[in-house]
Amino acid sequence: MITDNEDLFSDLRLLPVDITLEQSLARAEAIDARRRRVRRIAIVIGILVVTGSALLTYLLNDDSTVTSVEHPPKPETVDQYHRNVLDPGPSASLPTELAVPASSSADPVLTPRPQARSMASFLAIVTADDAIRNELAIDVRSIETIRTIISPGDRVVAVDNLGKRETCINVTCAGGDMRNIVCTAPIPSPVRITLPSGGVLYDIDRLGLPQDRGPYVAVRTSGSRGDLILWYQVDKVLERILPEASKESSAQQTLHSWLQPDSTTVIEVPTGKRPWRSVTVHAPDGSALSIPVQWVDHSNGSTHVHLKMSSPATHEIRICRANGTTERFLHVVR
């Protein structure tokens, strides 16, 4: 029986305390030591996981700059390069337009290049000032490095690395090896580098995107051995940087052109009402070139201009009409 006044806890109070202060402190220290150990292990695991995932991300996104070490650049003089380019081999003289792949078989992603392309008007070349050079991130040193190291059969390819938000310029050798040259923030890369005379130093293909179809904007910049002309394909970024030139260029009409088996380029030009007096070929800088030209009127109202020229070049064609007016247009031979 339990009464209201009965002290239920008297028995508990009589019990001696069976945990001493020293035991409590020892247990507290043991718990603390265990927690510290667990925390240290967790930190080490965390560091390992972060480092491992960073390394994995780096390896997955890397375009392998190691390759460039394993395959040192092959030095070649500009003269040698031009001799090789001016003799492009049998593939360049095949008869049909757009049907002839000029790419290396080791790179199936790249689409065939058009053999010849003419634009209905010729644009004034934009001279790059500091602002344009900055906006377009023009790296003359890299351009000249590529010019030095590439060999016949090599292709220069711009690769967009979305993971790292950058664009890398690679040189793909004829054998399939790839060398990374330079990487920058994603910017429009030129599709062709020429000298002011129109001679092509090299073309730059854009991996994963259709090959250039024009319209083009030309930007002239100075290099260590004279001026260079960088030919850009108009896109949204270029429209922002060079709005006037892009707008003017986008309004152009593409002319039909093709290569013939006799290494002659044929351009189909609407004749118009007034007869022609002369057709001349000029370098982008305006200097006249001694390239033989013939034109043949057709009954469908067009004129076929025949140029004895099949090597890669970018030129200006000037057509003088009988009334003294001159039409200028850009002609690109791949």
Binding site: M1, I2, T3, D4, D7, L8, F9, D11, L12, R13, L14, L15, P16, V17, D18, I19, L21, Q23, S24, L25, R27, A28, E29, A30, I31, D32, A33, R36
Partner: protein
């Protein structure tokens, strides 16, 4: 932590004053000596972390028991979530008197049937002799509420001991 645990004489001195009450409190709340020792050790570690904020050493008792109360409530919650099965009651003790031991064991077993907050009130007021105001400082609430809780707790404890057949 270990170094400062041993190297803080003021903390050790304050702790030594209330250690035995803290152990009684823990022993009455938990089901085993091991659990009680863990609760006391955790309370000491936690108390040392914020020891520098206790300006009045007179408030140390309330400070330490408030920590013990919160840790115990957290353990209870964790136990309900992860270990819902009942545990065996630990009757081991260093007590040399078997009859006292038996009665104490009976009361402890009966206490385990009470809700945790009722158990705590009973221990603090009836076992450790705290004032109602001090208990309110630890648990929060009002003195009126605490009195009602104490009444219900005492009734429940008596019923638990007698098995609901109290014929007083």
């Amino acid at each position: 932590m270990s170094n400062s645990l041993r190297n803080d004489p003021a903390f050790l001195e304050a702790l030594a004053l209330h250690h035995d009450d803290l152990v009684r409190f823990a022993r009455s709340l938990t089901r085993s000596r091991d659990d009680a020792q863990d609760l006391v050790a955790e309370t000491i570690l936690k108390a040392l972390e914020s020891w520098h904020t206790v300006r009045d050493t007179g408030a140390f008792r309330v400070y330490v028991f408030r920590i013990a109360h919160r840790l115990y409530m957290r353990q209870q919650l964790r136990r309900r979530l992860f270990h819902p099965w009942p545990e065996d009651y630990d009757t081991t003790s260093s007590d040399p008197l078997p009859d006292v031991m038996t009665d104490a064991t009976l009361i402890r077993e009966a206490m385990q049937k009470l809700p945790a907050r009722h158990r705590e009130c009973l221990i603090m007021v009836d076992l450790l002799g705290w004032s109602l105001a001090e208990v309110v400082e630890v648990h929060g609430g009002t003195i009126g509420g605490l009195k009602a809780r104490l009444f219900r707790a005492r009734e429940a404890l008596k019923n638990a001991i007698t098995g609901g057949h109290d014929d007083h």
